[in-house]
Point group: C2
Chain length 209, copies 2
């Protein structure tokens, strides 16, 4: 089985559009997030080594290390979303003829639903970090590619809000309300201030164009 | 030369992150837009033929035709952005030793800058349409995959705002102010109401989860 990240963009888009249940919105969100991280890395790579940006050299180096780490994580999440979805489908397919089978099936579903909540929550967390890192790129990166910092922030924002929907959809079916509420609280913390921060960085970029 | 859409996601992301000038934010925006279109297509494909959605069958068929057309256009724009950027770099590299050469170079740059404004403007227009089409998917599509309609709208929104930055950056260097103002007016018309519409559709989706 070809790892999804090794498939061509065209094939990924065809599979996304098809009636096949995966890839879906979770993988799309992870790719948006990975693109966001990659674009900040690009701004760093086109700022590093330039004499006129010598004063931000070490800051850009640190930024690049962070965005490349996040890009790696988000690229792995493209696949993680598919794997957890497939596990969820498998558990829904478990036999439910006897009470014992019903209990086993229900417990298995609940276990996988918790994983299916954790994956998009991690995606949301990574994207929120990317938005903040985008601010550094927008404020201090090579002004010739500053629009790419803006695109990064918008991609990160789109991915964040998308990942949030994938948390909401799974949390709704979780019977362990303490777990569900904890995850929702984590998500709300991640989302807090994201709209305003995104708009603020977008305007910083727009004003430099 | 491999068409960019036939490159793997991993290679695209690596190239996006690198110091190579292309692919950049324009291609990233087009991919986000294409993902948005694909996700609405997926919602349509998972709604069509379902007895409980028989009353929206023909509406979903029309929607699918529109999103697949937009997906095709946006996928082509991944490459178009690179091609126009490369042409721009070629014109900047033209000789400028004599006054005649300077004039030829300047005119060539101005011609390509107009193209470089048109490509992201077309991307923005396509993404604005996708957001509106996302509303139909969110309101009438199979509720089991409704979060994908929400992801589509967020991807379309991220792509729209990204494409806008790519219009602004090129318009700023165009000397033909009538053309520049016309394109900016077109962009403002495309952007008008997009923030509120996106938020509205997002809430429609969120409330169904």
């Amino acid at each position: 089985m070809t790892d999804i990240k090794d498939k061509s963009i065209q094939i990924f888009l065809d599979e996304l559009a098809s009636k096949a249940p995966t890839p879906g919105g979770g993988s799309a969100a992870a790719i948006m997030g990975a693109q966001a991280a990659a674009l900040i890395s690009m701004v760093c790579n086109l700022t590093l080594g330039k004499p006129q940006y010598a004063d931000v050299e070490s800051q850009m180096q640190t930024l690049l290390e962070k965005t490349e780490t996040l890009r790696f994580s988000l690229t792995e999440m493209i696949k993680a979303d598919i794997e957890v979805f497939n596990r969820l489908m498998t558990t829904y397919g478990l036999p439910k003829d006897s009470d014992e089978q019903k209990n086993i099936r229900s417990e298995a579903i609940q276990t996988v639903l918790k994983e299916a909540t954790t994956v998009p929550l991690q995606c949301a967390q990574a994207c929120r970090e990317i938005i903040e890192l985008g601010r550094i790129a927008a404020e201090k990166g090579n002004v010739n590619v500053i629009s790419d910092a803006g695109v990064a922030v918008m991609a990160g924002y789109g991915a964040l809000k998308s990942a949030a929907l994938n948390v909401y959809i799974n949390v709704g079916s979780i019977k362990d309300k303490a777990f569900a509420n904890e995850k929702l609280a984590e998500l709300e913390k991640i989302l807090s201030g994201a709209d305003a921060t995104t708009e603020e960085i977008y305007q910083i970029v727009k004003n430099k164009l």
